[in-house]
């Protein structure tokens, strides 16, 4: 028991001896402070407009009355239209019997649908549009390249150009007709030439050396006597 009564807490040395003095000093200090405060005049240093409090209540009421909901709807209507305020507000339209008792709302139950965010859907749309544009662009470029590769320069390859751009587009019958026509024309022209008299040809060729004439004849393969004769003689 003696061990249990022993105080386990420590106290500063000389604490209790000086305690009373400390308390008294503190009281004196507070009283001195209060005394100081009490020496300060209690006049209000702030100014208030003249007559302020006299009109304050009325000013506040004016503001309250200005508020849209100051009046009840009844009071408001009475003030603006006594005629309308006197009318019976009972509904004039009829309602089927037991309508409200039997009123039901059919909300169709849908199967649980996956929630897709609107931004995701929008992104999908943009992506699809970009793909379509891309395909069209690439396709146009490819087609353009193919066309340019297939282009034949008529100066470099006239036969090829004609074959590609003319012959292919024209039917064989038309070509044959054309050839026949040109042959006839040519024949007509040739006729004019062969109708030329040998004397005339001789006259034309008199200044041309014989070996030149021979060379020409060999290159062109002209072997008909009449012609050579005409030329040589």
């Amino acid at each position: 028991m003696a061990t249990l009564a022993q105080n386990i807490y420590s106290v500063p040395e000389g604490y209790f001896e000086g305690f009373a003095t400390e308390v008294i000093n503190r009281i004196k200090a507070e009283e001195a402070g209060l005394e100081y405060l009490s020496s300060i005049p209690k006049e209000n240093p702030y100014q208030v407009p003249v007559g302020y409090f006299g009109v304050l209540a009325e000013n506040i009421m004016k503001k309250i009355r200005k508020h849209v909901d100051y009046q009840t709807s009844k009071e408001e209507l009475e003030s603006i239209s006594p005629l309308l305020s006197s009318l019976n507000k009972k509904p004039v339209y009829s309602v089927p019997e037991d309508y409200f008792e039997n009123f039901e709302v059919t909300v169709k139950s849908k199967p649980e649908t996956k929630l897709i965010s609107i931004t995701y859907r929008r992104w999908l749309r943009y992506a699809a549009a970009a793909m379509v544009i891309g395909i069209i662009t690439v396709g146009s470029i490819l087609i353009n390249n193919i066309n340019s590769r297939n282009k034949i320069n008529p100066n470099d390859n006239p036969q090829g150009w004609v074959n590609k751009n003319v012959i292919k587009k024209v039917s064989p019958e038309v070509i044959n007709e054309f050839v026949k026509l040109t042959d006839e024309e040519l024949s007509m022209k040739e006729g004019i030439v062969t109708n030329n008299k040998p004397d005339d040809i001789r006259e034309l060729m008199k200044d041309v050396p014989v070996n030149e004439i021979d060379k020409f004849l060999n290159e062109t393969g002209a072997s008909e006597e009449t012609e050579t004769d005409a030329l040589m003689n």
Partner: protein, 184 residues
């Protein structure tokens, strides 16, 4: 638990619980169906049209209530949906029948006159005809203030218009209606 004692907050909690969702939704319908019905009926006149619109309203409520942010009263939100559905319905009717606005308004007046209980001598019926002369939005303002006695502050949240503008619109509507009744 009776409808009148279940608060909107409680109904919302119940709605968000899958177990009590349908029961809460039914409670919401029972609590607000008449108010919303008359709000709609005054705009579209005919019961069949009002029924269609009211169905649409509550289907929207079913689909949207889960995400209702509760930044306004449930009542305000419901009225906003109902108002928008009315305006959409009227707009669609205009497009379908390809008539001018004036013809639509006279069409609504004709529907009033076609009501089996219509009595041209009764002021209450004249009031209905007068209301139909107002532009759609002004009609809504008048109905909400006159019949539902909705405070402007709340109306402002329903219609997303300033309170001052709504008050001015209502006062203007009252004058127009008064003139109509006096002259017809």
């Amino acid at each position: 638990m009776s409808l009148t004692t279940t608060t909107d907050a409680e109904l919302l909690v119940q709605f968000r619980n899958p177990v009590t969702k349908e029961r809460a939704f039914t409670s919401i319908i029972k609590k607000y169906q008449e108010k919303l019905y008359w709000h709609v009926r005054r705009m579209v006149i005919e019961h069949e049209d009002a029924n269609d619109v009211l169905q649409n309203v509550f289907i929207r409520v079913w689909n949207g209530l889960e995400n209702f942010r509760e930044d306004s009263q449930l009542y305000t939100w419901l009225y906003r949906i109902a108002t928008n559905e009315c305006l959409t319905y009227i707009e669609q009717k205009k497009k379908r029948s390809a008539v001018s606005l004036n013809d639509v308004e006279s069409g609504l007046s004709n529907k009033i006159k076609a009501d089996q209980h219509f009595d041209a001598n009764r002021l209450e019926w004249k009031l209905q005809l007068a209301i139909q002369q107002l532009p759609e939005k002004q009609r809504i303002v008048f109905n909400l203030r006159y019949y539902d006695e909705m405070p402007y502050e709340e109306m402002s949240r329903v219609l997303e218009t300033s309170e001052g503008a709504l008050k001015a619109s209502y006062h203007h509507a009252v004058k127009k209606i008064e003139d109509y009744i006096k002259n017809h």
